[in-house]
């Protein structure tokens, strides 16, 4: 194939363009018929090959040195350090004297052994022989058995198929069986012989073995650590060989750890991708208690009782990591895993340390440690609260209190009454002028107003384009007020008393329990106590400038007569008390605000607004014509109605004419998975993350319009709630928790329905404003002395009898349980069903029977008398009265509940637990234990001579005395004993 001739005949040879005068190429002599000198090529080849070698090595190194390997190496170092430390500790705590003694003994026995060497050798030899024989015999036996088994099968098969040679086979079987048994006997005998020889040998060497064993036990811990250390640190060569590139495919010590949770998927479009959490590749000490003080990423999880441990409610194997924390499951580098800093300092630190930067492509960045409670909700969504997640729950409380669900669809807030007052009777309560001033800036009137500000916000203040917002806002507000008044049908109320005493009223307001739901002005922060629930009712600040004293009287006397749907319960105020309260509340005034002039109404602005609204469904010319025909009143009514519909006032208020209107806000059911590209950040220089957007939105909802040129009807509409930073954080925490991340059924919260319903209900009624329920609540506490705190309702279901609880809930005023308490349990006028919801909730929480229980007490006379004795000796009556009278010399706040009521109020079993250890049921209670535990944690009675010091029996006796003798309860008939 060396032919070089171009295809002749195929094509014409192209003509040579220029005269072909052959001119020798430069330096041709030197090169011969070469283009390049070979040495020149060699040189280039050498250079490039060296480069290639270098680059290949570099490539392998670059590829090999992964971030996670570094952490794993570090962790091994840490483990070695710790093991060495442990070893040192173990060795220093070793009983050296004893160890030396053992060593001496060992030497002694050795010496003894040497004397009997001949004997030992003999036995040893014998033993070896026996072992050899045993081996042979045992093998014979096993082979014989194999033959027997196969013969057996043949025989059985022959019998079954009725073959003629069956008898012959039976004989053969017998023969093999005999042989097998012979061998068995032989080997068994040899076993016995070996055992005997061993025993004999033991006589000489047994002692030594024993000592050796003792020494081993002493050193067991040490040896274990030593082994561990050897495994951890098998030497540089082994480690580096195991983990060397290429060789690391076999059994490297540096390897990926992963948790694969059944049925847990990353919900990607098209397909669910199995979730593979590789976090533990670097977080190596996360589930081990001993790394609490280690640096990240090796630190132990801060709450192993609740997470990771296999005994905890969230074991690592079945929940993984990203279920709660989010982040990218398969990533094994700091950056890609989606770590998110919790603060600006941390962000800076990470940028420096890990070269961290925000990941633009990650849909689910990790929740920061501040936000981590937001990760709970995807599973814990059966009831309105997540256990132990205080910050998250307060966010949910805020949403309920401020009524975000009025405009936005939010999961868990379905079928809740609108938060604002009914406006269908507004003209009977307020004045139009007040409403106009109020709407302009509610917070100006009441610094803690829940009503948000719709006008004079960042996108409708000053003047933009052709719009003078001052004039326009005034016109809009006026139109709305006019509309409301035109539709309002005031309720006829009896004239209220106005002759109350404000000072006495103040006393009542401060003590009777108003502050469980209300506050006056800003709420003073208290350490360790949330007071969010004190925003449940509207703030009473400047109430006197808002409504008339007569109206207040009617309201506090019986709120339902004014507004049947109100959440406000009746506090059973007497007429005089009500008059005093009314006097006090109407004395709370803001004269400066009252004197402020009303904004003037500019007809041109009203025309502008009306025109703009008219234009939405008719042409310009038509709109102008319509406008011309309208009177000012018509304009106001028309504009008012359309504006209410634009701003969605009916989301929070009952507005006549808007009973069936649909909420106007964006649905927030999956707010936590909303694509960042769908969030309009406007021109704001804020971080482009969901969290940051929500926070900004909550701080100033309309700021995204700033810098935009928009017509008034295109502007953002969400009003400004003027949330504090803390509130913003809590609410946005809830929003980011609303993710679209399907978790398998087995992970989901299994809160019983009764508990979920109960929680929902007590949240609606704000029970926790006063009471501590499930360890949460008691918001009223900072306003009261500890002695005046409303009761903790821990174990309420277990504690109280259903009948008593039911009658109490239906009519709390009838029971005088704690006469010293100034706060009153209000009358909520619960329906039977509502009361049952609460009762069922408490029972379900404590897992006790409801509603049918036995309250009879099984006892006998002797026990009753012991109980009476103990009751006296323990001086229970020092604090507990047994009648309604207050003992002399005592003030009510020194007292405990009247024990006479116990038998019909308390469950007998509860009393037993309560008396044994009251702190366990109500931490901080003033009820002491009389049976403090000793060193071993066993309760001890101060009266060792009564009933043999049996604590359980003593407590039972006290209980029986309390129920039968003090209370006069029923005794259960006990078989075999006679009751009189």
């Amino acid at each position: 194939m060396s032919s070089e001739t171009p295809n002749e005949g195929g094509h014409k040879k192209p003509p040579i363009p220029t005269p072909a005068k052959k001119i020798p190429a430069l330096n041709i002599d030197k090169r011969g018929d070469r283009l390049y000198e070979v040495i020149y090529l060699h040189k280039w080849f050498a250079i490039s090959s060296l480069l290639l070698f270098g680059f290949t090595v570099a490539m392998v190194m670059v590829d090999y040195s992964r971030e996670w390997k570094r952490y794993q190496r570090e962790f091994v170092r840490l483990q070695i350090q710790r093991t060495q430390r442990d070893m040192q500790q173990v060795s220093s705590s070793l009983d050296r004297a004893k160890f030396q003694q053992l060593q001496q003994q060992l030497q002694q026995t050795r010496a003894q052994q040497q004397q009997n060497e001949a004997q030992i050798d003999k036995i040893q030899k014998q033993l070896n022989d026996l072992n050899a024989k045993y081996y042979a015999a045992d093998e014979n036996y096993r082979f014989a058995k194999a033959v027997y088994d196969s013969d057996k099968y043949e025989y059985e098969e022959a019998v079954a198929t009725k073959r003629s040679n069956a008898p012959k086979l039976a004989e053969k079987l017998k023969e093999t069986e005999k042989r097998m048994n012979d061998y068995k006997a032989q080997s068994e005998k040899l076993t016995l012989d070996i055992r005997a020889s061993n025993t004999e040998l033991d006589k000489y060497v047994g002692k030594r073995n024993e000592i050796q064993k003792d020494m081993e036990t002493m050193l067991a811990d040490y040896t274990r650590l030593q082994t561990r250390l050897n495994t951890l640190n098998p030497g540089v060569i082994v480690t580096s060989f195991r983990n060397a590139p290429v060789f690391d495919f076999m059994n490297p010590s540096e390897r990926i750890n992963q948790i694969i949770v059944n049925n847990l998927y990353n919900d990607q479009p098209f397909k669910a991708i199995p979730r593979v959490d590789r976090c533990t590749t670097c977080h190596l000490g996360i589930d081990q208690k001993t790394y609490q003080d280690a640096a990240q990423p090796f630190t132990t999880h801060p709450n192993l009782d609740l997470y990771l441990a296999s005994s905890s409610p969230h074991p690592m194997e079945s929940f993984g990591c990203t279920t709660c924390h989010a982040g990218l499951d398969r990533a094994t580098s700091f950056q890609n895993a989606g770590h998110m800093p919790h603060s600006e300092e941390q962000r800076k630190e990470w940028q420096k340390k890990y070269n961290w930067h925000e990941q633009e492509f990650l849909e689910t960045p990790m929740l920061t440690t501040n936000d981590i409670q937001a990760g709970c909700y995807k599973c814990h969504n059966a009831s309105p609260e997540v256990p132990q997640a205080a910050a998250f729950n307060s966010g949910r409380d805020l949403i309920r209190i401020y009524g975000c669900f009025g405009c936005h669809k939010l999961p868990g807030y379905e079928n809740i009454r609108k938060v604002g007052p009914d406006l269908s009777t507004v003209s009977g309560k307020l004045t139009k002028e007040w409403v106009r001033k109020w709407l302009a800036n509610p917070k100006d009137f009441k610094s803690q107003a829940r009503m948000p500000q719709f006008w004079w916000n960042s996108n409708n203040s000053g003047s933009t384009g052709n719009t003078n917002w001052d004039k326009r806002n005034a016109a809009e507000i006026n139109a709305i007020a006019e509309y409301l008044w035109s539709k309002s049908k005031p309720k006829q109320l009896p004239p209220g008393r106005t002759n109350g005493n404000a000072v006495a009223g103040k006393q009542i307001v401060e003590t009777v329990g108003c502050f469980g739901c209300h506050a006056i002005g800003p709420i003073q922060e208290a350490a360790n106590q949330t007071q969010i629930r004190r925003r449940h009712g509207f703030n009473l600040e400047n109430q006197g400038s808002k409504v008339s004293q007569s109206w207040i009287y009617n309201w506090v006397k019986d709120p339902t007569q004014v507004w049947p749907e109100t959440k406000m319960p009746s506090l059973r105020l007497t007429d005089e008390e009500a008059a005093n309260v009314a006097a006090y509340l109407s004395s709370l005034k803001n004269p400066e605000w009252e004197q402020r002039p009303l904004p003037e109404i500019d007809q041109a602005a009203l025309d502008d607004v009306t025109l703009e609204l008219l234009r939405t469904n008719s042409t310009d010319i038509e709109a102008h014509e319509k406008l011309k025909d309208m009177t000012a009143e018509q304009k106001n009514l028309f504009a008012g109605e359309r504006l209410i519909s634009r701003y969605g006032c009916f989301g929070c208020h009952n507005v006549p004419g808007f009973e069936k209107a649909q909420p106007i806000g964006t649905e927030l059911t999956e707010a936590g998975s909303k694509l960042i590209s769908q969030l309009d950040f406007g021109f704001l220089p804020i971080e482009h993350s969901r969290r940051a957007w929500y926070e900004q939105k909550l701080k100033d909802p309309r700021i995204f319009d700033v810098g935009r040129v928009k017509r008034p009807e295109e502007l953002l509409k969400m009003p400004n709630f003027r949330f504090s930073d803390k509130d913003v954080e809590a609410v946005s925490g809830v929003l980011v928790s609303l993710v679209k991340d399907p978790v398998p059924l087995e992970m989901r919260d299994k809160t019983p329905q009764a508990v979920a319903d109960g929680r929902q209900f007590i949240a609606e009624k704000n029970c926790r404003g006063c009471h501590l329920i499930e360890g949460v609540g008691g918001d009223i506490r900072p306003t009261k002395e500890q002695a005046q705190w409303p009761p903790n309702l821990n174990t309420e279901g277990f504690k109280t009898q259903p009948l008593w609880l039911h009658s109490f809930l239906k009519d709390p005023g009838s029971v005088k349980l704690r006469p010293w308490l100034t706060a009153r349990m209000p009358t909520f006028h619960f329906t039977e069903q509502q009361a049952a919801t609460i009762e069922r909730y408490f029972s379900a929480l404590d897992r006790v029977d409801y509603p049918f229980i036995s309250t009879d007490v099984e006892t006998d006379t002797q026990r009753l008398s012991v109980g009476a004795d103990l009751f006296m000796k323990l001086q229970c009556t020092s604090c507990h009265p047994t009648s309604n009278a207050i003992p002399p010399g005592k003030s009510p706040e020194d007292l405990a509940p009247n024990l006479q009521l116990a038998h019909e109020r308390l469950r007998p079993d509860w009393v037993l637990q309560w008396v044994r250890d009251p702190q366990k049921i109500f931490p901080g209670t003033r009820m002491p234990t009389f049976f403090p535990p000793n060193d071993k944690g066993v309760p001890v009675s101060p009266f060792p001579n009564i009933l043999g010091g049996d604590v359980t029996a003593q407590i039972q006796a006290i209980r029986d005395h309390l129920f039968i003798t003090v209370g006069g309860g029923r005794r259960a008939a006990r078989s075999g004993t006679v009751t009189k």
Binding site: L51, Q268, P269
Partner: protein
Amino acid sequence: MFIKDFINAITAPYFLITAAAILLLVSLKYPDKFYTSKSGAIVFACMFGFLGISVLDPNFRLIVTKADNVPIVGMLFLVPFFTWFALREAVRNDKRIAEGKPLVEQEETADKVLTWPDLVYTELICMVVLTVVLIGWSMALQAPLEEPANPSSSPNPSKAPWYFLGLQEMLVYFDPWLAGVVFPGLIIVGLMAIPYIDTNPKGNGYFTLRERRWEITTFLFGFLILWILLVILGTFLRGPNWNFFGPYEFWDIHKLEALVNVNLSEYIWVKGLGMGLPKNPIIREIFGFLVVLGYFLLIPPLLAKTWLKRFYQTLGPIRFHVMTFLLLAMTALPIKMVLRWLFNLKYIIGIPEYFFNI
């Protein structure tokens, strides 16, 4: 700041494409002025300087250092370099021809050397060096990987692979059936037809410009302006919503461009004749049809008679008509561009009912 704004302004497609085309044509007219070692040094020094200074700008850096764009930055240098190199060789050869000297290539033509080692060895070295380059590149730059595919959220801009961005850029001026199907088809056909249309026997196997001025000008216009430049434009200067963004401009998703393009039929019926558009699309678009048919059917014979008479004679009718068709198809793109820039012309023929828009 002012300089950046200025550059942002002059990189606008209409200016960039026009300027580049003019520059190319002028440089081909006076090759011995443009394609010298000195001018090459100046141009490349400027380009490197521009890149070096510009990467200080965050927006510029963002777009240039995007992993998948790095090869295109390389191409941005390689293509001009080889253009300059080839034409410099050509200029040299042309000079030699003029002086009656043998060509650069010819000096050695008759010499044959053994393939082993001269060719085989150099190939080996070349491979090794290339491997080194590839490995180095791979170590320095991680291949891009974005979030998992999600058909419900389209990134803005959604771009085709970079080598098809020329086609995507054509979508600005033509409908998909032309820009995405017909033009690519014609490009392939046209490329394949080149050896059969080009009967010029000269310039076979050596760099020359003077002997093949017509072919080279046409090819360079098509390759450099209508392909490479459009790829670069599509890569670096097209942002969200396929809007134009200068190299220092932030890709703001909210930037809007006014869509005020008008069909030829509206120009004639509504603006010219002052009457409504006829219902029947054929009648409505009759002028468009006339223009397009005229373009493809009348111009070739006209050219054959006048301007390209010489070609008609050497090539014969078949070759000539194939050539003029391909040339006219190619020039349709710049013509449509110019019409768009000057008159906001949307379609010459616009029958959206049948997806037939030109």
